[in-house]
Symmetry: C2
Amino acid sequence: MALAKRRLTKPPRARLDVDERRAQLLALGLELFSQRAYDAISIDEIALAAGISKGLLYHYFPTKRDFYAAAIREASRQLLDCTRPDAGAPPMERVHPVIDAYLAYVERRGPAYSALMRGGIGSDPAVAAIVQETRDAFLDRLMQNVPAPAAGPELRVTLRGWIGFVEAASLDWVERHEMKREALRDLCAEVLVQAISVATRRAAAR
Amino acid sequence: MALAKRRLTKPPRARLDVDERRAQLLALGLELFSQRAYDAISIDEIALAAGISKGLLYHYFPTKRDFYAAAIREASRQLLDCTRPDAGAPPMERVHPVIDAYLAYVERRGPAYSALMRGGIGSDPAVAAIVQETRDAFLDRLMQNVPAPAAGPELRVTLRGWIGFVEAASLDWVERHEMKREALRDLCAEVLVQAISVATRRAAAR
């Protein structure tokens, strides 16, 4: 609603710069896909909400799947951006704000995030690849930021596993909302500390 | 290859009981989808390997997606079946054989499991629903088998998270194979114990 109103204050077919238009369309896509399922949103509706013709929309995104994939790529970019760790903070103080920002993003983009992670709607190889790249980026960051003397396969598999832990826990949380965000954040952080200890012990005993 | 040979010893169009034929087709599907990607396998190839006409195959499974979904359902049944906990064992001794059986299954069905969990190929709402039901079944079992005084949202979200941990860790492991199965099993089991402690502490402090 707010979105529709905002748009009415502009002439519907204002000439925009290509990048600007693309960014505007992606923001709109994220908003729509965050509220409702992929299948429930038509190309007509997207064009109408954007105040452009279907033809122009197709010019930017040849198919609805392309549009969806681009919106997911934008979401991934935003998610990685808002969870960038503070390199100045001591390692174990970096993790709380990162998890908090992650959960806040999940909360804001609930339905789109659930649908995406569950592979339920509009999921295809392009989208799966974006999800996988996002996980890889989180893993790289973790590997660089976590103070763990034991590198090696135990640490790697544990950090991968922990990313899976946060994904699964946050999906459950965003559906049921039985805890405060801060409580889930602290729980995830403590599990990370414990999991790293397990990996370190097991690597040392190898 | 072994499969093709085995099939040659039977008359190709032997009349089978409907259930028997269906089971045979699902076993074949699992074998094929475990070896190669969904998109790389044609209906013609499936019919040829099964020694039946395309028409008869379509009689059992109207589309390739239906066939894939049925094979995934069969895989879920097998996975839940082979990981059934031993109700006679003490709770914390139940978990090692369960994780071991899970990882052995992942190892055997590697490509199909990866593809499925990554939502990469042939993923659609029906398949996503089966994956979600399988996770729910694992959560129910965990809730019943884990000795945790602290029920409540902390435990639930932690067990959900741990299932995500095992999924993500096993996907990484099956691709890279840098650890023995027993080592990953023990790591997952230790992380479970630690995660339950975290949940218990946090629930008590609530």
